[in-house]
Symmetry: C2
Subunit: 255 residues, 2 copies
């Protein structure tokens, strides 16, 4: 089993060498800019799941990259002045601040479409179907967030973060050819990841769950989510050691 760090390098190399559609012309520059940086958590989960499910992680690279492209798309559009109005992202100018709003709108559109192109490079359409469902959930979550019409924070985070984390596991299962009837224990694991990631994020940023549960309360909720994720992994009939490492890493990360 490859380590999370090895899988991360694999993703970085793949994204760095990614051939974008030539018809994008100059638009490709802002798309590449948007893909620099980031922890590649979703991609690493995807590759680790693929390897645990029995295929070489390399086979999962287009799916893993498509998750990073969808994540980048959502950041580029969320950063726009009309939405979160963030001029900075990952320690430098956000795409709209660097290239203007028009190019940023198109960069997000291109990232989303390139993501589907990658997910559709597999013989089965299931990989792309799962990406579409997760992306629609994420967009719905963003709608609830910016309109303040969220029924509750659990629903919001399930949509905004959870969908894409769950898809990181689910897409890998299709890539590895795990039959649908055998996917349930894996998916139960995937469902815990988004919440774990989100709560730790809030603890590090001092917002979200920290505002509603206090820092100690949020930290406890994160530990509980990590515990459930490990339990779910114990129910998966495979060598899931790298996925356990990923859960430990998500629970204890400091940035």
């Amino acid at each position: 089993m490859r380590s999370p760090e090895e899988l991360r390098s694999l993703v970085e190399g793949y994204l760095g060498d990614l051939a974008l559609t030539p018809e994008l012309h100059g638009q490709a520059e802002s798309v590449r800019y948007a893909l620099v940086g980031g922890k590649r958590v979703r991609a690493v989960i995807c590759l680790a799941t693929a390897e645990a499910a029995g295929v070489e992680p390399e086979v999962g690279l287009p799916a893993a990259a498509s998750l990073e492209l969808v994540h980048a798309f959502s950041l580029v559009h969320d950063d726009l002045p009309a939405l979160d109005d963030d001029a900075e992202r990952r320690g430098r100018a956000s795409v709209w601040a660097a290239y203007g709003e028009a190019i940023a709108v198109l960069a997000g559109d291109a990232l989303l479409t390139e993501a589907f192109r990658l997910a559709l490079s597999y013989p089965s359409p299931e990989v792309g179907r799962e990406l579409a469902q997760a992306t629609l959930g994420m967009i719905g979550g963003q709608y609830l967030d910016i309109t303040g019409s969220t029924p509750d924070e659990v629903t919001l985070h399930k949509l905004k973060t959870g969908c894409l984390f769950a898809a990181s596991v689910g897409m890998a299962l299709w890539v590895a050819g795990v039959p649908e009837r055998e996917q349930a224990p894996w998916r139960a694991f995937g469902d815990e990841l988004g919440l774990l990631f989100q709560i730790v994020d809030d603890v590090l940023d001092g917002d979200g769950y920290v505002l509603t549960h206090g820092e100690e309360g949020a930290r406890r909720l994160a530990d509980e989510a990590a515990g459930r994720a490990r339990e779910r992994l114990a129910g998966v009939p495979a060598d899931t050691s790298t996925l356990v490492d990923i859960v430990d890493g998500l629970a204890t990360r400091t940035s």
Copy 2:
């Protein structure tokens, strides 16, 4: 063979009843708003091609609808203040003017993703692959347009309009199961449609080709494109009578 008008009603009915992903929550309202109106040219071409290629037009409905959703996505984002700044579309307020910019950005994102969900409802990923390629070309065309970096008007219109028209034919071929080695004559036809549509559009609006070739010159270019489209159809080994009607309709339309 069903008439273009019958095919158009089929599309209207399908789009009107279209079940959007429930996770979109309230975002669905602006998505529906963006789907009202329009001539459904791309969808009708798709259904007519599918029928000519040997399947019931109903089989082509998800593909046809996905083309309309991608077209609507492009209009919603192009209308944004940062791009074309159009407050009106199809005789009423454009999506950003009606719902605000943030919701309009998300509405375009949702339309694009729902389009892939529809295109991926087929067993073969080819339908979605062709949609992705066409959409990337369209985004590249929009980039060239707003940055004024177009090498020439033919390249620009091929990307901005031609890609999606060509895909209207190409996606129908995959839907109908036409083997790749038999697709060339159909695709030669599809390649003429975008240009025909674009030049007539410019004649009706008095811009684009009219500015560079004069009204008479543009009209002549449109007639030539229609002539080439009919010639290409004559090379297709199938009953293409409805497609001939569509070409005639595109060449003589007055709105």
